[in-house]
Amino acid sequence: MLFPMPFHSFLLFVVWLLLNNSISAGHIVLAVFFAITIPWLVTGMRDEHPKIRKPWLAIRYICMVLKDILVANVEVALLIIGPTRKLNPAFVAVPIHLSTDLGITILASTVSLTPGTVSTEVSKDKAWLYIHALHLTNEAELIDSIKQRYEKPIKEIFGC
């Protein structure tokens, strides 16, 4: 089959043209070449991804995360400049109820990019996400905010 992953082929084609900012014949030929060979090479390593059930919610989630990244940056910047002796670092275990690897990956990445937390590890049974907080004020509150703010929409987006 020429296009085992049609969506990825399309994405590669578009991204290559965007990266080069041109639609000259040479780049179109190259883009077609990549769009065919790369999916063909990686199709064997692929695992099943859940479908996005609610695209609108996904877009809202992305916007919310982008806003949170801005807030996180300012917060962490202030913490870094402020006195380090007052910082209160902590490891926290967050129970998660996501059944898919993609969902867990997205949650972990979001947690890393947003206020004061970096995800360090997922337990083998995929029921716990371990995070490191730069400045912990209230453990229960932090766990609750991650579950409410990020886990819930991810669950709804993938319908799991």
């Binding site: 400049i81 670092p89 970096v118 590890e121």
Partner: protein, 124 residues
């Protein structure tokens, strides 16, 4: 180049520069590796984004067409930064790197390293 564009570019460059500086400063200043991770994953993403937005405005004006490469770079950065941070944290835990003494939940570190579920408080 119109004056207002120059202002926009300057502001973006300034914001980006400040955040990059803070990110690097944090990397040097924070006491242990787990805390240092926070500086580059957060402050630097915004810093780079600021610089890239400035570049985007400038290039768009220069070429007369909207330049999207910078947006792609930002997107790739947002995808890869947490993964890199995660790998560094994993490595640090694997080598049993000591966390700062006042870190809470240090008893969790072995559990995290072995990727087990945390024990209920009654057992530990």
């Amino acid at each position: 180049m119109p004056f207002y564009l120059e202002i926009i570019i300057c502001i973006c460059l300034l914001i980006g520069g400040i955040f990059l500086l803070i990110g690097s400063y944090g990397l040097a200043r924070l006491p242990d590796i787990y805390m240092r991770l926070h500086a580059p994953t957060k402050a630097s993403t915004l810093g780079i984004t600021g610089v890239l937005v400035a570049s985007m405005v400038y290039q768009s004006h220069l070429k007369g067409a909207f330049s999207v490469q910078e947006l792609l770079i930002t997107l790739f950065l947002l995808i890869t930064a947490p993964v890199a941070a995660n790998m560094i944290a994993k490595t640090a835990l694997h080598y049993r790197t000591k966390a700062l003494d006042r870190t809470h939940g240090q008893e969790l570190m072995e559990t995290i390293r072995d990727r087990e579920s945390p024990k209920p408080p009654s057992e530990s």
